[in-house]
C-alpha cells in the first residue's frame, strides 16, 4: 500500500504533465488554424493549375516530355516519404512510415526521399545510409518543395528511379488523418473532359507542347507543396487529438489517485485513533 506522501507526489507530477499536454493542445489548436488558412490560400492555384493542365493535355497529340513517358524499366522506385518534424501526435508519423515500409516491401528496392525529420530518421533506417532529406517546417515550404521536385526530376530523368511515388498524410477530417500513396511521375493526365463550347479551341503561345513542357515541372512542384501543407494541417489535427486524450487520461488518473490518497489518509487517521483509544484503555484498565 503506497503511503500518503507517495500518492501526493504522483498526483503533483501528473498535474504538471496535464498542464503541459493542455498547453500543447492549445498551441496545436492555434496552429491548425494557420495551417488550414495556408492550405485554403493554395486552393485557387491548385484549381487553376489543373484546369490549365487539362486544357493542354486535351490539345496536344504527343509530347516528348520525360514526365509523360514510363520511366527506366528495372530501376528502383523513388518514394517521397513525408511526415512532420516532431512527434507527440499519436500514431500520425508512424502510420505514414508504416505505409512507406509496406510499399517498399511489396515493390522491391526503392530510393527514399524524406520530407520531415521523422521521415528522415525512418528513411535512414530503411536505406541504412544517408538519404536525401528536407525538413518540413524549416524555411519556406515552397522552396523545400522546389528542392525536392528538382532532386526527383534529376533522378527520374537520369534513370536512377523508374517512377516517383508520394506517401503522405491526408487530412480526411479534424479527427481522421490517414496515409495516402500517390504516383506523381509519370504524370497521368487528369480526366479528359468532353471538349465542348469555347474551351474546345484554345489558342496556345508558342505551342501547347512548349507550354506543357513548362507546366509539368510546376505541377510536380506544386503537388509536393500542397502535400506539405496538408501534412502540416493533418499533423496539428492529430496532435490536438492526442494532447486532448492525454489531458483527459491524466485527469482520470489524478481522480483515481486522489481517491486512493484520501482512503490512505483516512486509514492512517483511523489507525492512529485506535492506537490512542487502545492506549487510554490500557492505562485505565
Amino acid at each position: 500500500m503506497p503511503t500518503v506522501r507517495d500518492l501526493r507526489d504522483r498526483i503533483r507530477s501528473l498535474k504538471n504533465t496535464q498542464q503541459i499536454t493542455k498547453a500543447m493542445k492549445q498551441v496545436a489548436a492555434a496552429k491548425i488554424r494557420r495551417a488550414s488558412t495556408a492550405q485554403h490560400q493554395a486552393q485557387p492555384y491548385a484549381t487553376a493549375l489543373s484546369d490549365m493542365l487539362r486544357d493542354l493535355m486535351a490539345a496536344v497529340g504527343s509530347v516528348d516530355h520525360p514526365f509523360l513517358k514510363p520511366g527506366t524499366a528495372g530501376a528502383p522506385k523513388g518514394v517521397i516519404l513525408m511526415t512532420a518534424d516532431k512527434g507527440l501526435a499519436g500514431a500520425f508519423n508512424s502510420n505514414v512510415i508504416r505505409s512507406g515500409e509496406q510499399l517498399a516491401r511489396a515493390q522491391g528496392p526503392v530510393v527514399w526521399y524524406a520530407v520531415g525529420n521523422k521521415a528522415r530518421n525512418a528513411a535512414r533506417r530503411f536505406a541504412d545510409r544517408e538519404t536525401f532529406a528536407q525538413s518540413l517546417s524549416l524555411g519556406q515550404k515552397i522552396d523545400t518543395a522546389r528542392a525536392v521536385a528538382a532532386k526527383v526530376t534529376d533522378d527520374f530523368v537520369a534513370g536512377t528511379i523508374s517512377e516517383v511515388v508520394l506517401v503522405s498524410s491526408k487530412l480526411v477530417s479534424m479527427t481522421n488523418q490517414r496515409p495516402e500513396t500517390r504516383t506523381l511521375v509519370p504524370i497521368v493526365a487528369p480526366e479528359r473532359e468532353k471538349a465542348t463550347g469555347p474551351r474546345a479551341e484554345v489558342e496556345f503561345a508558342p505551342s501547347p507542347e512548349a507550354v506543357l513542357t513548362r507546366l509539368l515541372p510546376k505541377y510536380l512542384e506544386f503537388t509536393i507543396f500542397s502535400a506539405m501543407l496538408e501534412t502540416d494541417a493533418a499533423f496539428f489535427a492529430a496532435q490536438l487529438l492526442a494532447m486532448n486524450n492525454a489531458t483527459e487520461n491524466a485527469g482520470k488518473l489524478i481522480d483515481e489517485l486522489t481517491l486512493q490518497m484520501n482512503k490512505a489518509r483516512q486509514a492512517a487517521i483511523t489507525k492512529e485513533m485506535l492506537e490512542i483509544v487502545g492506549g487510554a484503555e490500557a492505562q485505565t484498565g
Partner: protein, 139 residues
C-alpha cells in the same frame, strides 16, 4: 467606361490580385501579350517581367503593376487567370535583396554554358531580379 473582365493573379501562397480589369499585359515567352475582355481562349507561358493591368477598383480605374517570376496566363472570354511563383507590388520589392540576387545569379550563370538548363534558370533569376528593380525605380 470600358468593359472589364474578372482578373486573378495567383501565387501558390496567396492571391496577389483579385478584381476587375480592362486590360492585362503579361510578358509572354513570345513577347508582350495584352488581353482585353472577350478574348478568345488563350494559354501562354510567361517570362519573368513586369505584369501590367488596368484595373478598376471601386469604379475607379487604377493601374496595377507587379514584378512576377515565370508562370502562365490563361485567358478565357469571361476571365483571366495568371499563375506565377512570385508576384510583388512596388512596395513589396526589397531592393537590396533584388540587387544581391541579381549579382549572385550573374556570377552563377558564368559557370554554365549557354543552352543548358542551368543557364536558362539563372537567366530567369536575372530577369526576375531586373524586373523587381525596374518596378521599384519606375523604369
Amino acid at each position: 467606361m470600358a468593359k472589364t473582365i474578372p482578373f486573378r493573379l495567383i501565387t501558390p501562397t496567396a492571391a496577389a490580385f483579385e478584381g476587375e480589369a480592362e486590360l492585362v499585359i503579361g510578358v509572354g515567352t513570345e513577347g508582350e501579350e495584352g488581353i482585353l475582355p472577350s478574348h478568345a481562349p488563350f494559354l501562354t507561358a510567361l517570362r519573368p517581367g513586369i505584369l501590367r493591368a488596368n484595373a478598376v477598383e471601386d469604379g475607379q480605374p487604377r493601374r496595377r503593376e507587379f514584378a512576377t517570376s515565370g508562370g502562365f496566363m490563361q485567358a478565357l472570354p469571361d476571365r483571366i487567370t495568371i499563375l506565377v511563383d512570385h508576384a510583388l507590388t512596388p512596395d513589396e520589392v526589397d531592393v537590396d535583396a533584388a540587387r544581391a540576387e541579381l549579382q549572385s545569379a550573374q556570377e552563377r550563370q558564368k559557370a554554365h554554358a549557354p543552352q543548358t538548363a542551368e543557364f536558362a534558370l539563372e537567366a530567369a533569376n536575372i530577369d526576375f531580379a531586373n524586373a523587381r528593380l525596374a518596378l521599384r525605380t519606375g523604369a
